[in-house]
């Protein structure tokens, strides 16, 4: 009996409180837009999610057309017989490198540099590579593989979720014991040549173009 009598008492103040502020609470993400009567129908969060789907659709379309969602093309790359994956990646890096550095010079974008942690980069990278070959998909191309009808990609995606949770279990140990080894912070090539950012960018892009030209003339696919 005590619980049933307590319940209304407990919830009563909670019930009245939201009623007072109901218009603000219920439409919290949209509240500003509604009050200011802005023409934009989406909140900032909604716009971000919509852009995410839109960019994802374009990304998935390109991954599938580029063949990198295909099992044999990914395995062919790792067997060093089919260089489609490296050609796609390096072309994307060259164009993105030139484009994003141009936008950055014009102060239109921010960089998002990930920290250099030698031990974690190397060990995590090798583990990733092993899983990359076992599943023959990577996190992005696996989603594209599912989109083109490769149902084994579902097992890989479930495995990704499980592996992420296992990592979270180990995350405090890894951040204490492995991340500090060779921790160089957000290190980039510009830290070695800070005065010549444009030259470094152009030089790196040119080097990758040379690699692409060599690949074009030495590989069958």
């Amino acid at each position: 009996m005590s619980t049933t009598t307590e319940k209304p008492n407990d919830t009563a103040p909670n019930d009245t409180a939201p009623n007072d502020t109901a218009p603000n609470d219920i439409t919290a993400p949209h509240a500003k837009n509604d009050q200011d009567k802005q023409p934009k129908p989406l909140s900032a969060a909604g716009r971000s999610l919509a852009l995410g789907v839109l960019f994802g659709i374009v990304f998935g379309f390109l991954l599938q057309k580029g063949g990198v969602a295909k099992f044999h093309i990914l395995i062919g790359q790792l067997l060093l017989e089919d260089f489609t994956v490296v050609k796609v990646m390096l072309s994307a890096v060259v164009v993105g490198m030139l484009g994003i550095h141009t936008l950055h010079r014009a102060e239109m974008v921010e960089f998002h540099i990930k920290p250099t942690r030698l031990a974690s980069n190397v060990i995590g990278g090798l583990l990733f590579g092993c899983g990359f070959a076992l599943s023959a998909y990577c996190p992005g191309t696996g989603a594209a593989a599912l989109g083109q009808g490769n149902f084994d990609a579902i097992a890989m995606m479930v495995g990704m979720v499980a592996g992420s949770y296992v990592f979270a279990e180990a995350s405090s140990w890894i951040s204490r014991n492995l991340d500090p080894i060779g921790d160089k912070g957000k290190l980039t090539l510009f830290d070695f040549f800070p005065q010549n950012r444009t030259a470094v960018t152009l030089g790196s892009a040119s080097l990758l173009v040379v690699v692409l030209i060599v690949l074009e003339f030495t590989t069958t696919r």
């Binding site: 995410g52 994003i100 990930k114 996190p139 495995g159 492995l178 692409l212």
Partner: protein, 188 residues
């Protein structure tokens, strides 16, 4: 049970050549260049680099919050990266849709569990083996991606194009680990 499924597959390993299967629909240079342009757009409009692996970690955290909320909220990774449906999750959802449109428009819908090259190597009855291997591969990739700080798109494209040293190291290690494992699986 695992050994029973492994043994028929492992005794009849056929030689396979990846170049005997269909190639890409579009030029890899064109696709790569367009992905480069796409990465400019995500930096400009969303202030985010292209990356896919975070979405799976977010999903893991959300599932953890449903099943074991107290334990999940105590884990360091989820404290630093609160699980919620965000831009990255929507990106991966979009990738599935976009790839479906591409496959449908190009008559490349496969609609099968076993990729042809896998089937030719390990046999038509290796469905359970394939599911187990793909699951373990996904698990290793997620663990490795979180440890290294990103995946083939987050480090391999978005990180390397910003000339981040850690991204180049991680991306090269992706391929070293992948080449060794693939050679053991398909070339021995």
């Amino acid at each position: 049970m695992i050994l029973q499924t492994l043994s028929p597959a492992l005794t009849s390993l056929a030689e396979v050549n990846p170049l005997e299967y269909s190639g890409p629909a579009w030029s890899p240079y064109l696709v790569g260049a367009l992905i480069g342009v796409l990465s400019m757009l995500t930096f400009y409009f969303s202030n985010k680099p292209l990356g896919a692996s975070t979405a799976y970690a977010r999903a893991a955290g959300m599932l953890g919050n449903l099943t074991a909320p107290h334990h999940t909220q105590r884990l360091k990774y989820f404290q630093d990266n609160p699980p919620k449906i965000g831009w990255e999750f929507m990106l991966v959802l979009g990738v599935v849709i976009g790839a479906f449109v591409a496959a449908w428009s190009g008559n490349e819908w496969t609609g099968r569990l076993l990729p042809l090259m896998w089937q030719d190597r390990f046999g038509a009855d290796s469905g359970l083996l394939r599911v187990l291997v793909a699951f373990c591969g996904g698990g290793l990739m997620a663990f490795g991606a979180r440890m290294a700080g990103g995946c083939t798109s987050g480090h391999g494209i978005s990180g390397t194009l910003q000339l981040a040293i850690g991204s180049w190291i991680a991306a090269i290690c992706f391929f070293i680990g992948g080449i060794v494992t693939a050679m053991l699986m398909y070339a021995v």
